[in-house]
């Protein structure tokens, strides 16, 4: 006899044991998110003048934003519970104290992000809270100095030829950036001459003696991701004067100095856009320190040329010690707030290196061409930023980021 009942029981028992699958019903509760913005301790009288907080829901890509600031806090109301990327961008006004009575007011664009922040439900209706600490420097914007050729070349007679100096700027981000209004600056202090300057502003600003801006009205000079532009001190074909040099008439930009020395004429290539001169210490032509004793940087000033020249000039003081004698010295220069600096590179030489002339937050190391002061082997060489894959290396440390004593790319 076929025992159907038993077989049915056996079948049901097996079926009953198999994995149960119950799907949870999904609903989307909401909650508020309060984000407090805090200022760095190094900044005096900092005031958050404006800012926008955006919260991007990771799952839906929907963006919620808020630009009303109350007591340095922004509140996003009724955010659906989930994981968000928070991005804050704003402007901070603060002072850089030059002395007891003088301060340079400055404006800085600040950004901060928090990724994968979980907005959670609250049974007691308490808002989620998060703090975003601002950093008043932006040396991570994407534009980088990718090569500095400062040593010059040698002529066939073995003499130095330094008119062919150049700089390359690259876009290390994934977006198209614009060179319009970006500044190229040279430090006033030497990395081979450490002094106790007063006021000591290095943690807040870079002391510079030359500042040139890329021309343009905002989007006239795009630079695509991974691209480089060539800024020549003189955008001419240098092989005419020195057959061992190279042709810089193909440069994208040039520094055309308004020389007050009538016998010194800076050649101007009409086909190459000129950098806009905000200030240059040299009364004749601009020349990079060809032994590499200075620092160079890219920056994005937040104020006009007139405001910069009026507010950012200062006089520094130091004691020059020579043997047993010391002399009170002073110097005039301009301060470039660290908040504006996009990328900075310190250059020096091992035998005479004494210090970096920028804050370590901008550049914790230095690079070089040559091992000694006036090294005769330094010519035709550059410092070239290393690449990792198709991105440039950028750890804000020129010791790691640059290949020293590399053959100048224009000579390859």
């Amino acid at each position: 006899m076929k025992n159907y009942k038993m077989l049915l029981v056996a079948a049901m028992a097996t079926l009953a044991g198999f994995a149960s699958c119950s799907d949870d019903d999904k609903s989307t509760p909401v909650n508020d998110l309060k984000v407090s913005i805090t200022m760095p301790l190094t900044v005096e009288n900092a005031e958050l003048v404006s800012g926008t907080l955006k919260a991007t829901n990771v799952a839906t890509s929907k963006v919620y934003s808020q630009d009303t600031i109350e007591n340095n806090t922004l509140t996003l109301r009724s955010l659906p519970v989930g994981v968000y990327n928070l991005d804050f961008e704003g402007k901070v006004k603060y002072n850089i104290s030059i002395n007891d009575t003088t301060a340079a007011g400055t404006l800085a664009t600040v950004k901060q992000s928090v990724s994968n922040y979980a907005v959670t439900e609250s049974a007691t209706h308490q808002a989620n809270t998060e703090t975003m600490a601002l950093e008043i420097y932006n040396a991570k914007e994407g534009l980088l100095i990718t090569e500095i050729f400062f040593t010059g070349t040698l002529t066939e007679e073995g003499k130095q030829y330094i008119d062919d100096q150049y700089l390359k700027v690259g876009n290390n981000s994934d977006d198209t950036l614009y060179l319009d209004g970006v500044a190229f600056v040279q430090s006033d202090f030497l990395t081979t001459d450490k002094q106790d300057y007063t006021p000591d502003l290095m943690e807040d600003a870079m002391t510079i003696n030359s500042i040139y801006l890329f021309p343009g009205n905002g989007q006239d000079y795009p630079i695509a991701p991974g691209e480089e532009v060539l800024l020549a001190v003189n955008a001419i074909d240098h092989t005419e004067a020195n057959p061992l040099s190279f042709d810089l008439s193909i440069a994208d930009f040039e520094i055309n100095n308004e020389s007050s020395e009538t016998e010194v004429v800076d050649p101007n290539n009409q086909n190459v856009p000129d950098m806009i001169i905000w200030y240059q210490e040299s009364k004749s032509v601009f020349v990079m320190h060809n032994r590499g004793f200075m620092a160079y940087a890219l920056a994005k000033p937040e104020i006009t040329k007139e405001e910069f020249l009026a507010n950012n000039f200062y006089t520094y003081y130091y004691k020059f010690v020579f043997g047993e004698r010391s002399f009170d010295m002073d110097g005039d220069a301009y301060i470039l707030p660290n908040a504006w600096v996009i990328d900075a590179v310190n250059l020096s030489v091992e035998a005479v290196y004494e210090w970096n002339v920028t804050s370590a937050t901008l550049d914790a190391g230095w690079s070089y061409c040559g091992k000694t002061n006036g090294d005769k082997n330094r010519y035709n060489k550059s410092v070239i930023r290393k690449k990792s894959g198709n991105k440039w290396v950028d750890t804000n440390n020129s010791t790691n980021d640059f290949e020293p004593e590399a053959k100048a790319s224009m000579l390859k």
């Binding site: 025992n3 038993m6 029981v9 056996a10 079948a11 028992a13 097996t14 079926l15 009953a16 044991g17 198999f18 994995a19 805090t38 200022m39 760095p40 301790l41 190094t42 901060q112 992000s113 928090v114 990724s115 994968n116 922040y117 979980a118 998060e130 703090t131 975003m132 600490a133 950093e135 290095m202 943690e203 804050s359 370590a360 937050t361 914790a364």
Partner: protein, 129 residues
Amino acid sequence: MKLLKYITVVFCVVAGALTGGCDDEYTDYYTSAEVTVVAPDTVQILQIQGVCAVTCLSNDMSYQSSTWNGKTVTFNNVLRGPYSILVSGTAMITTRAGRREVHNFRASSSYAEFMEHPTSVELQMLLLQ
């Protein structure tokens, strides 16, 4: 016959029950991690302002926090695994001479394991001049 009947039913039930067990499931996903900044011997930290960013080396996901409890930042509910840590910010310190100063600082580690419940990591502070 009774024995066979019994065996059949038991086998079916056990086969069904086995669907839920006998499985390698590892569900200890998350932990909390405390990152503490340790000052050099010559200074004492009074206040810290800054961002601690931890990045999971397995999936490249990162988390940031600026909420300091003294010298410590706590990340609740991070995926267990290996992380790199970078702290940057400003610190108010007193020197051995008693002078109060404010410095930018950095602290970092290229590898830290967030595996225990909770995990605690100490990083040496690098004061930037």
